[in-house]
């Protein structure tokens, strides 16, 4: 595994380098700059110029980029223009919120996805099939933000059961925190869970047609055991890959969900950084997301290899 990771290192580095350049340049192409957030909209042109000078924004772009890159090798990810603290601190302070959300969403996605998938992938009565099918289709069709809005409307406003916006740190008050988390996590998880369920169902159905299932049946193995030991076990690979891909989507979906449910996570930080042109924060966020996506991919390859002995990471 170590050698597998080592072998992947160069291509990860290339991806990281290119994305760093894009992450650096793309936000800077947009009109406006972070000095405005400091100077305020009422500022006079002289005031703005003075602030720009003070922030080091008048340096050439390439030098800013190199400063940033070399800084990162020294572990210095730069300073937020707006918050005037190390980017790592800024991101660190928002990390908890997003991690809590992503973690719960991931749990829900795995639980709902696997349950729905296994139910749909097992022989069942026609009606159960239709109901399951409608459920997954509905979940699948409704993107997270719509699910979020509907959840807000029904569970927050028409039947005010759960809080609809804001958040509480989990370690401050776990119970309250959970109440704030449930709706956004559910909104994020449902569509993804439906995708996982669909893929699992397809994988199980095709696994069911494999010869080894026939052999198991010929051995006298009961249908239940066939489903668990043979069919599901062979379909989990697909599910894991799906989960890996979806995990990336979960984080992506967090941006809108955080906006809708007014959570102060990385997603809202990203949006805020875009709006205030806090390039330093934004470029680290983008770079982090790209690298995270790459690692999730690697991680699911590793899990896949653990699940399926035919796949070897070395070769």
């Amino acid at each position: 595994m170590i050698s597998f990771l080592l072998r992947k290192l160069p291509s990860v580095a290339v991806v990281a380098l290119i994305s760093s350049a894009i992450a650096f340049i793309l936000p800077r192409l947009a009109p406006g700059d972070p000095a405005l957030a400091i100077a305020g909209s009422d500022a006079t042109p002289e005031q703005l110029a003075a602030v720009r000078e003070q922030m080091g924004l008048s340096k050439p772009l390439i030098q800013q980029y190199l400063d940033w890159m070399f800084g990162m090798f020294r572990g210095d990810f730069g300073q937020s223009f707006i918050m005037r603290r190390p980017v790592t601190t800024v991101i660190g302070s928002r990390l908890e919120s997003t991690l809590e959300l992503a973690f719960l969403a991931m749990l829900l996605m795995i639980a709902i996805g696997l349950v729905l998938g296994v139910l749909a992938g097992s022989p069942r009565s026609k009606w159960a099939r239709v109901v399951l099918d409608i459920m997954t289709t509905l979940f699948l069709a409704t993107p997270p933000f719509l699910t979020g809005l509907l959840l807000i409307l029904f569970l927050g406003i028409f039947f005010p059961i759960l809080p609809i916006s804001g958040e509480v740190g989990f370690f401050e008050n776990p119970w309250l925190a959970l109440q704030f988390l449930i709706l956004p996590a559910l909104a994020l998880a449902l569509p993804q869970a439906a995708i996982v369920a669909r893929l699992l169902q397809t994988a199980m159905n095709s696994a069911r047609g494999e010869d080894y299932v026939d052999l198991a049946k010929a051995k006298g193995v009961s249908p239940g055991r066939i489903t668990w030991r043979h069919v599901l076990r062979n379909s989990l690979g697909t599910a894991v890959v799906a989960l890996g891909l979806r995990a990336g989507d979960l984080l992506a979906g967090a941006i809108v969900i955080e906006a809708i449910f007014a959570r102060n996570g990385l997603g809202s930080l990203a949006v805020y950084s875009v709006q205030s042109r806090d390039y330093m924060v934004l470029q680290v966020l983008i770079l982090g997301a790209v690298i995270l996506a790459v690692f999730i991919q690697l991680f699911s390859e590793i899990i896949l290899a653990a699940l399926d002995p035919r796949i070897r990471l070395e070769s």
Binding site: R7, P10, S11, G209, E210, D211, Y212, D214, L215, A216, K217, A218, K219, G220, V221, S222, R225, R229, H230, R233, N234, L307, D308, P309, R310
Partner: protein, 684 residues
């Protein structure tokens, strides 16, 4: 032939009566099996033969009650020791499966669960029938040893993918034997295996039958296998039993035109090579559109009026023989009439220059690796020299994975030549630059193995052939005419132009593949296993077509196959390949008549022949599998399995050290062996 062919016991172990199975697909109902009856007596081996789609597997699955949906048994009884398996509840059936009746499937690659350890899969068969986990593991070890898996302590915890095909099939057999079943149903257990491995498995089955007294139903389409292993025979056609009887008698005097034709359609190893194959015309029926009357009548050269309308019943033809044929019932002759045949003229190498010449060619198939990693080379073709002369057929045989396809792909320029030199019509084309590519494409064309995969399913037959013409610059109306001409040349009619591949049968598609290859007027066709995906009867048609074309157009062939009989039939010269090298090459008579290399000997003697009562005792059966080309053995590549090599004769360590050169032998051909000529065929 094993000496247990005593008269059957009085009570059949398994009696199948009037079994009919259908598949209901929406508005149509496919009758896959109709009114099938047979008996299996304890300790005997019953063979079921028939072409693809004749209902063999469905019959077996009906017995096991393991039909794939929407299959359903409509009628009939399956009596095991007098108990009707079709009538008992599923739970009880579960207890019988794997306990009393066990089944072995065709494809050893797919039959084992890839993510479960081999030992666990064997143990599961015991666990579900009530054995304790500890006991089950102990028995699993014993079973693995029994089916001949080496180093059980280690291998028991391996995964299926770490096993070779032959070993996997052994594991499947071990699973089947786990609970000492009284009945073993083997559905084409060796079809996917090489002859050398097939011989190992057949020997294992014969031994088991002898030692454990298991009754076996052996499903196969290979008459050779039947002759070798079975006592009784059931021949199926179009979902019905058309003939039944003891193997010896059926082979000696078939009582159904289909059986008779089938026996004649198979090329023989011992044939002199100048008689034509008698192909069965047409193609096997599709169950959805079974012909009326006798399903065989459209292909039967003896058909009388009655055959068109009335289905002949299975009627007794004397001593335990039954046949379903109006002609035979009336006492008529059922031997196939020779169709318009082609005299086989063996060619000797004329003085002409070879059209294709390979000189010490090596091909590296290792993937190039990533940007930053280097992979060690894997030479699937490792120093091959050969020549194909105009109008000559060079046969190339060898086990699966020995590099036959890689060789042909190298010639076509799909794989790059790592070393050596390829000449086409005297011009060096090794570089495969544009000019060389054009020359190759003009001179050599390729006929693919899988007729289903080599035609684009989304393009019509006409479009596929037009494309080939377009490349050589034929366009417009001329091209259209050429397409029709080509189709007619390969025995298809004009109206195939606008059909899609899915509307064609396998044989028809292979004809299209040949037509496409002929578009460029090549001098040589490389045929990579052109018939191995086809049914026996169709196989004969394609071989005849190829022979016809050769004689008419003066084509040369590089004919690749692993079926030795087919190669013998069509080839002027034969090359035997092992692990990337040619180990023996000579005329067909020389190589088959007096093989000099022990590998050739082993291949020949492993090939089952459709002749019952042939002694199998002196067979040379190779042990183990072919090593991987990534790690070839030192010295002689064959030494690890060689029956006359250092594995058996410790004094022969020259084989470990020195790789033998391909050198002329006393009997004429060339062989690459330090002890050429020592091993010999012990034919009965």
């Amino acid at each position: 032939m094993i000496e247990t062919r005593q008269a059957p016991a009085t009570q059949p172990l398994l009696r199948v009566e009037h079994l009919s199975t259908t598949f209901d697909m929406g508005n149509v109902s496919v009758r896959a099996v109709t009114d099938v009856s047979f008996d299996l007596y304890p300790g005997r081996v019953l063979g079921i033969v028939g072409e693809s789609g004749s209902g063999k597997s469905v019959t077996a699955r009906s017995v096991m009650r393991m039909l794939r949906s929407p299959g359903q048994v409509r009628e009939g009884q399956v009596l095991l020791d007098g108990e009707d398996l079709l009538a008992i509840p599923e739970r009880e059936m579960q207890a019988i499966r794997g306990k009393k009746i066990a089944m072995v499937f065709q494809d050893p690659q797919a039959a084992l669960n890839p993510v479960m350890r081999v030992g666990d899969q064997i143990a599961e068969a015991l666990l579900v029938h009530g054995t304790s986990a500890k006991e089950a593991r102990k028995r699993a070890k014993a079973l693995l040893a029994q089916v001949g898996i080496p180093d059980v302590e280690r291998t028991i915890d391996q995964f299926p993918h770490e096993f070779s095909g032959g070993m996997r099939q052994r594991v499947v057999i071990a699973i089947a034997l786990a609970n000492n079943p009284t009945l073993l149903i083997a559905d084409e257990p060796t079809t996917a295996l090489d002859v050398t491995i097939q011989a190992q498995i057949l020997r294992l089955l014969a031994q088991l039958r002898l030692e454990l007294g298991i009754s076996i139903i052996m499903i196969t389409h290979d008459m050779g296998v039947v002759a070798e292993l079975c006592d009784d025979l059931v021949v199926m056609y179009g979902g019905r039993v058309v003939e039944k009887g003891p193997v010896r008698d059926v082979f000696a005097s078939p009582r159904h035109p289909y059986t008779a034709a089938l026996l004649k359609a198979v090329p023989r190893l011992d044939a002199k090579g100048d008689e034509a194959l008698i192909a069965i015309p047409g193609s096997p029926p599709v169950p959805l559109r079974l012909p009326s009357g006798c399903a065989f009548h459209p292909r039967c050269s003896h058909a009388i009026d009655k055959c068109f309308n009335d289905t002949p019943p299975l009627s007794s033809m004397g001593d335990r023989r039954e046949s379903a044929c109006w002609v035979a019932a009336a006492g008529g002759n059922v031997e196939p009439r020779p169709t318009d045949e082609f005299g086989r003229h063996r060619r000797q190498a004329s003085g002409a220059a070879p059209t294709l010449r390979l000189d010490n060619v090596r091909t590296n198939v290792a993937s190039s690796g990533g940007l930053f990693s280097k992979t060690p080379p894997v030479y699937a073709v490792d120093g091959i020299s050969l020549e194909v002369f105009p109008g000559e057929t060079l046969g190339l045989v060898g086990e699966s994975g020995c590099g036959k396809s890689t060789l042909s792909r190298t010639i076509m320029g799909i794989n790059d030549v790592s070393e050596g030199r390829i000449e086409v019509s005297g011009t060096d084309v090794t570089s495969m630059d544009l000019a060389a590519r054009n020359l190759v494409a003009k001179t050599i064309q390729y006929v693919f193995q899988d007729p289903f995969a080599s035609l684009n399913p989304r393009r019509t037959i006409g479009q596929s052939i037009l494309e080939a013409l377009e490349v050589v610059g034929v366009t417009g109306a001329e091209a259209d005419n050429r397409v029709v001409a080509l189709l007619i040349r390969v025995g298809l009619s004009e109206d195939y132009v606008s059909r899609y591949p899915y509307e064609l049968s396998g044989g028809q598609r292979q004809r299209v593949g040949i037509a496409r290859a002929l578009a460029a007027n090549p001098k040589i066709l490389i045929c990579d296993e052109p018939v191995s995906a086809l049914d026996v009867s169709i196989q004969a048609q394609i071989i005849s077509l190829l022979e016809e074309l050769r004689d008419e157009l003066g084509l040369g062939y590089l004919f690749i196959a692993h079926d030795l009989s087919v190669v013998r039939h069509i080839s002027d010269r034969v090359a035997v390949m092992y692990l990337g090298r040619i180990v023996e090459v000579g005329t067909a008579e020389e190589v088959y008549g007096n093989p000099q290399h022990p590998y050739t000997v082993a291949l020949l003697s492993s090939t089952p022949e459709p002749k019952p009562d042939q002694s199998t005792e002196h067979r040379v059966i190779l042990t183990g599998d072919m090593p991987s080309p990534a790690r070839p053995p030192s010295g002689c590549r064959f030494r690890t399995r060689c029956p006359i090599g250092p594995a058996f004769r410790s004094d022969r360590e020259i084989c470990n050290r020195q790789s033998p050169e391909l050198a002329a032998t006393a009997s004429g051909q060339k062989a690459a062996c330090h002890f050429a000529g020592e091993a010999s065929l012990a034919r009965g």
